[in-house]
Symmetry: D2
Subunit: 144 residues, 4 copies
């Protein structure tokens, strides 16, 4: 974990990038918190996000895990740098039941070109969190 | 690849399961073809599905890869069996530019409890397909 | 994490299983510690374990990560249960330089059939640990 | 798949790199064939390579999958370029029973910095091949 961001304005920058992601708005996801190397995204669960058993689709969990991890990576980069997902694997731990999903992305190792991140996803039900997925992936810096 | 389905009515069954996935309808995905052990899903790309660079978000690619692979697994199972995703890893190969994404899921090995599948995702632009992602994952049978 | 083992003799059982793994002995790996849901394996680095740049081959890191994670899974199972690896993904974080590798496996979620584990691998050099790899995978219980 | 190598001497170069991998020699692995973007490695199975059930340890399968995929990536690179594994996920399909394991690595997409590869591993028994594992991973070019 590298807690030392190169760009002191990283939070505003991540927020601006998040706002450009039409898909996050479409899902209804919100940027819940931003720290250097750690980003949290919250997604209220609606019927549209369901799979065949009525719980939130793993695709929704993957999408916010990817964004939380990717923005955690970007939070440690220089001001002009962009980030793309190289690969991301998710393990599903439990059915995603509850009123919201929360994904917490964190940098495992920030390299010059590649940053490795993990993200944990929780379902929130009546204020209680249950771990529903965990993801591990690779993100590439796109020099600005 | 096991081309021998236990349930001759597998195509209708997969279609019925697909129709229960609110998330697929929400994305606008369609079941394009169903064979024993191989399922294709097509997703017209709209601005709502974009990431910050304007291409389709990897979350959309992951979601249809997951569904194509999972339904390919289910197509080989007995009539009452359900399927859940255990884990799925996706590697992104190129920006998803084009008017539609197509995911082709295929069974690599069908076991009694677990089925391993891959899925390839293509962006379709003016009738030309470009590989944009490839996924490999594990699905579990939920006995009916 | 489930810290409650079903078999109070889990440590002896894991040790006996480890001793049956010819590959661990061949590599020179040792079982360094066993707790319920957490196992540590240590591998002294020798020239035979190298890749083309002279560091320990990622295959050695993967093997001890797999064993540490798999035995962590098994430590929470009933006395007669065996375990097999379903899949394991490893991200390499840094060159594995040092006199030993240490893999720490931990259970993320123990289910009835499947257990999800992670494992972190460190290179030890003059008593200092550097994270060199992190792994995430799925293990299946084989009822005894 | 990019079948057009930048270095016409790629086969000799891959062979020289393979010979530097102490770990491959230690396992007893041999470079069975080299084409542009596709490498095959063969590993005779011995008791030392076993896991607790007597079959070849998944670590041996992972190691030759990693080398077959990584050298497939390197075969398409320029003469001075090296390659490192970023991450590799393996799904185990069946017990590795037989007199040898064969890993076939192939380039899925060769990029400027990153190359995505897959590798399939087979157990050979009396001349018959059984698929025992499939792997998908990311490799990074290290400019020469």
């Amino acid at each position: 974990m590298s807690p030392d961001p190169r760009d002191p304005g990283y939070a505003d920058r991540v927020r601006a990038e998040f706002d450009k992601q039409g898909f996050m708005a479409f899902l209804g996801a919100e940027l819940a918190s931003i720290a250097a190397g750690a980003v949290e995204i919250r997604l209220p669960v609606r019927p549209e996000l369901s799979q065949q058993h009525g719980h939130a689709h793993a695709g929704a969990a993957w999408a916010i895990a990817d964004s939380a991890a990717g923005f955690a990576a970007q939070s440690l980069m220089a001001a002009g740098d962009g980030v793309v997902t190289v690969e991301l694997k998710i393990n599903l731990l439990a059915p995603a039941r509850g009123e919201a999903l929360v994904a917490r992305g964190a940098v495992v190792r920030a390299g010059r070109t590649l940053t490795i991140c993990r993200a944990d996803v929780f379902a929130v039900s009546d204020g209680t969190e249950t771990a529903v997925a965990t993801a591990l992936g690779t993100f590439m810096r796109v020099p600005g």
